[in-house]
Symmetry: C2
Subunit: 122 residues, 2 copies
Amino acid sequence: MADPLDPDMFTGCPPHLAPIRVGDKWTAKIIRCLEPGPRRFTELQAPLRGITPKVLTESLRAMERDGLLTRTAYQEIPPRVEYELTDLGRSLIEPMNAGCEWSRKHLAELLQARETWYATTP
Amino acid sequence: MADPLDPDMFTGCPPHLAPIRVGDKWTAKIIRCLEPGPRRFTELQAPLRGITPKVLTESLRAMERDGLLTRTAYQEIPPRVEYELTDLGRSLIEPMNAGCEWSRKHLAELLQARETWYATTP
DNA sequence: CGGAATCCGATAAGATACTG
DNA sequence: CAGTATCTTATCGGATTCCG
């Protein structure tokens, strides 16, 4: 299997300041986590700092419903479930990269404008 | 000035089924409306079917705060206010187009998966 | 014309506790 | 391990009314 996911892979990506969003709050990050290969539920929880099992389940179910990933449950003890991107899910990486590139180029400018606004607007 | 905006320019773009979003619910559409040139408050209301003045104001203020557009009020009677994209706002068109292209290519597949899910999941 | 003020409902997201 | 169940809170978007 692949190496464990870096628990800090999303520090520096606070969702509230990104103007471009894919799916719900967690969708894009889940896609990034699954990009190298299939992962288990618990593996996903680590980098998605503070996500509760309820919310992670909701996001994964919605993505499964939309054909972005597959869920495979192995009948073992202890149970094992793996989530894997479909081709459709993988196709979202391209527009996601466009959004990331925009952020690298322009996010600082947006934040600067916001700073100035709050400093000068009563 | 430019031609009036087509009131139907966004029919066929229901926001709930698009997995890619820029800003809030209306941001991307406002950018499209301003792409050809500056527009007045009332001009924007027509294609943004059913948007209330409160919500349109909120979106425009947030975009102004983030440096995506400028607001210019002319001291005339009756009053006239024009909104115009900044270079920063215009820079979002590129990732927006990436999202639109994804939709053209893959949205039908997503909707098909969703259909199947609701047809087969109890 | 271009908003502001107020109120309201729906939904998203999280906290907490429990289970096959 | 991989969730489910229940509850609560926060935010968003909308309806309505009024104003300079």
